[in-house]
C-alpha cells in the first residue's frame, strides 16, 4: 500500500505541475489580448505590452460596440446560434441514431455517403449558385439550413450511441416501442454529454461565422451578423493604415491590432460563458444501471 501511495503522490504532484504549466502557457495570449484591448492603439504599436495595459482606454471597446448595425448583428447572431444549434442537434442526432442501429439495412452505405461529404467541396461559385436557385440567398435560412447536418458531428454522436448497450433498444422493443420512441425516450437522455459537446461545437461555429453573411447577404443589412460587422470594421481600419489611394486620416488612436483585440474579447465572452453551463453534463457520468449486458 505504501509504495502505491508514493507513486500516487508523485503522480499527483507531476500532474498538478503539468496543469499549472498548461494554464500559464494557455492563459498568456488571452491575457495579452485582454491587455491590448484596453490599451491605447497607437501606444500598442510601440510594443512591450504584456499583461497590463500601459495607457488605459475604453476607446477600442467603444468603437467596436458603437459600430452601426451592431444591434441587428447581435440579434441575428443570437438567433442563428439558438436555431442553428437546435436544428443541427436534432438532425445530427436523428441521423446518428439511424446509422447506429445495428439492424439498419443501409447503415454502412449511409455512413459512407456522409463521410465523403467531409472531403469534397464543389467550390465557392457552384455553392453560391445552388443557394441562389434554392432562394436561400437574401434570407436568414441560409445560415442554418445548409449546415444543419454535418458528417463530423454525426460521427461523434454515432460513436457515443454505438457504445450504449444494445439491450436498451431490445427491451424497449419488447415493450412495443417504435424507433422514434426509443430515440426520444431511451437513447437521447443517455446522450446528454455528447449532445452537450456537439451543441457547443455547433454553437461556437454559428456564433463565429461571418463568411456566409458576407457572401449571401452582402447588400442588405437586414441579416447581418455580429462577426460580419466586426470583420467590416476591422478591414476598414486596416485599409486606412495602408493604401495609396483612399482617404487618409491621422490623429486617431485606433489601430487594427487594438480593434482586433477588443473584438476578440467582446465576442469571446458570451460564448465562453456557455461552457460552464454545458459542463455540468460532462461531470455526471453515465449510470446505465440495471440494463447492463
Amino acid at each position: 500500500m505504501k509504495k502505491k501511495s508514493l507513486s500516487d503522490q508523485i503522480f499527483v504532484i507531476c500532474n498538478t505541475i503539468f496543469m499549472v504549466a498548461f494554464v500559464v502557457i494557455t492563459l498568456y495570449p488571452v491575457l495579452n489580448t485582454l491587455a491590448i484591448s484596453f490599451n491605447d492603439g497607437i501606444d500598442t504599436v510601440r510594443g512591450g505590452i504584456h499583461l497590463i495595459p500601459r495607457k488605459f482606454t475604453l476607446q477600442n471597446y467603444y468603437t467596436v460596440l458603437h459600430k452601426q448595425n451592431m444591434v441587428t448583428g447581435a440579434y441575428i447572431t443570437v438567433l442563428r446560434t439558438v436555431i442553428g444549434t437546435l436544428l443541427a442537434l436534432v438532425t445530427n442526432a436523428l441521423l446518428a441514431f439511424i446509422v447506429s442501429r445495428k439492424r439498419f439495412l443501409f447503415k454502412s452505405q449511409l455512413s459512407l455517403f456522409w463521410v465523403i461529404t467531409m472531403y469534397v467541396n464543389g467550390g465557392l461559385i457552384p455553392v453560391f449558385l445552388l443557394y441562389k436557385n434554392l432562394h436561400l440567398t437574401g434570407t436568414f435560412w441560409v445560415y442554418v439550413v445548409p449546415g444543419a447536418v454535418s458528417a463530423f458531428n454525426m460521427l461523434v454522436l454515432r460513436t457515443y450511441m454505438v457504445g450504449l448497450p444494445d439491450s436498451l433498444e431490445e427491451s424497449a422493443q419488447l415493450d412495443g416501442a417504435g424507433y422514434m420512441t426509443i430515440f426520444v425516450k431511451i437513447i437521447s437522455p443517455l446522450c446528454k454529454p455528447v449532445y452537450a459537446t456537439v451543441a457547443l461545437f455547433v454553437a461556437v461555429g454559428q456564433w463565429n461565422s461571418w463568411f456566409d453573411a458576407m457572401l449571401y447577404n452582402r447588400m442588405s443589412d437586414k441579416y447581418t451578423t455580429l462577426q460580419y460587422e466586426l470583420m467590416k470594421l476591422l478591414s476598414s481600419v486596416m485599409q486606412q493604415s495602408g493604401s495609396a489611394d483612399s482617404m487618409r486620416n491621422s490623429g486617431n488612436s485606433i489601430t487594427p491590432a487594438s480593434i482586433r483585440a477588443a473584438a476578440t474579447i467582446a465576442t469571446m465572452l458570451p460564448i465562453v460563458c456557455l461552457y460552464p453551463f454545458l459542463q455540468r453534463y460532462f461531470v455526471t457520468g453515465l449510470t446505465i444501471g440495471g440494463v447492463k449486458e
Binding site: T16, G123, V272
Partner: protein, 311 residues
C-alpha cells in the same frame, strides 16, 4: 460491451423493410438533403477541366481537358508543397491527437473539482483567438529579443540569439506547436465527454481489486474512449492535406518558403490572385481524391483489425 462482432450480412427482406420503415423514410430524407447540399455543387468540378471565365459560366467556358492538372504536376514547386503539406499535416495530426488525449486523461485525474473546471474552461480559451493574434504572440516570443531567447541565454543553452524564423529546420515544429497551443483544450472536449460515458462501477471494481492509477488509465479509461479515438483518427487521416493556410502564411517568409508553403498557399499564389478558378478547383479535386483514398485505406485497415470504422 465487446465490439467488432462478426457482422452477419443482413438480408433485405420485406419484413425487415417494413420493420424499419421509419428509419428508411428518415434516411431517404437525409440522402436527399445530403445530395442537394453536398453532392450537387460538385458539378462545379467541371471547372477544373475548363478555362473557367465568370462571364461564360460553367456551361460555356472553354474546355481544356487535363491542362490544369498537367500544369500542377509538371511544376516542381507543386510537388514540394505536397511534401510540405503532408509533412505538416502528419506532424499536426499526431501531436494534436496525443496531446488532446493525454490532456483529457490527466485532467480527468484531477480530483479537485473546482480546479478541474477552471483548468478546462481556461484550456479552450485560445480556440477563440484568431490565428493572427496567436501567431503575433508567437512571433514576439520567438523573436531575437523575445522571451524564448531570453530564457535560453539565461540558462546558458545558447550563446547568441537564435533567429527562429530564418531556419528551415525550425519551421515545422513551430507550426506544430502553435497548433497545439491553440487547439489542445478544444480538441479534448470530445474525449472528456467520452470519458463520462465510462461506467463508474468499472473504476470502483478496479479499486477494490487494488489497481493502481496507471492500471486504471490503461485498462479502463483508454479502452473506454478507444472508439472515439479511432473515429476521430480515421476522420482526421483524411484531413492531413488540410494542414492549414493561415499559420504558414503568416509565419512564413522568403527564407523558409521552401518548407513553409502548403497547397492552399500555392493555390492562392497561382490561382486566386490571378483569377484562375480552374486551377484552384483542380487542386481541390486532387486534395479530395487523396483524402478519400486515405480514408478508404484507413477504414479498411481499421475494419480488418476489428476496430471501430467509419462506414
Amino acid at each position: 460491451m465487446s465490439r467488432g462482432k462478426k457482422k452477419a450480412k443482413q438480408e433485405i427482406t420485406w419484413k425487415e423493410i417494413k420493420r424499419q420503415k421509419v428509419l428508411l423514410i428518415w434516411s431517404a430524407f437525409f440522402v436527399i438533403y445530403g445530395f442537394i447540399f453536398y453532392y450537387l455543387p460538385l458539378g462545379g468540378w467541371i471547372m477544373a477541366f475548363q478555362n473557367y471565365k465568370p462571364k461564360d459560366g460553367m456551361l460555356h467556358s472553354k474546355w481544356i481537358g487535363l491542362d490544369k492538372f498537367k500544369f500542377l504536376f509538371s511544376d516542381a514547386s507543386f510537388i514540394r508543397v505536397i511534401r510540405n503539406t503532408l509533412a505538416m499535416g502528419t506532424i499536426n495530426l499526431v501531436t494534436s491527437f496525443v496531446m488532446a488525449i493525454v490532456f483529457a486523461i490527466l485532467l480527468n485525474e484531477v480530483k479537485n473539482v473546482v480546479g478541474k473546471k477552471m483548468v478546462q474552461t481556461i484550456s479552450y480559451l485560445p480556440h477563440f483567438l484568431s490565428w493572427i493574434i496567436v501567431t503575433g504572440i508567437l512571433h514576439d516570443a520567438l523573436s531575437s529579443t523575445g522571451i524564448v531567447n531570453e530564457v535560453l541565454q539565461k540558462l546558458g543553452i545558447v550563446s547568441s540569439q537564435i533567429n527562429f524564423f530564418a531556419h528551415e529546420s525550425y519551421f515545422w515544429p513551430i507550426v506544430a506547436f502553435s497548433n497545439l497551443w491553440k487547439e489542445t483544450g478544444w480538441n479534448a472536449i470530445i474525449y472528456l465527454a467520452a470519458i463520462t460515458a465510462i461506467d463508474p462501477s468499472l473504476y470502483e471494481a478496479a479499486s477494490i481489486d487494488g489497481a493502481a492509477r496507471w492500471a486504471k488509465i490503461r485498462y479502463i479509461t483508454l479502452p473506454g474512449i478507444k472508439p472515439t479515438i479511432m473515429i476521430l483518427l480515421l476522420m482526421n487521416v483524411g484531413n492531413v492535406l488540410n494542414a492549414g493556410f493561415e499559420v504558414q502564411y503568416i509565419l512564413g517568409n522568403g527564407l523558409v518558403q521552401k518548407v513553409s508553403q502548403t497547397i492552399d498557399i500555392y493555390v492562392l499564389n497561382w490561382g486566386i490572385s490571378q483569377n484562375d478558378y480552374s486551377l484552384g478547383t483542380a487542386a481541390g479535386i486532387f486534395k479530395s481524391a487523396v483524402s478519400i483514398f486515405l480514408i478508404l485505406l484507413a477504414n479498411r485497415m481499421a475494419k480488418r483489425s476489428g476496430e471501430e470504422s467509419l462506414f
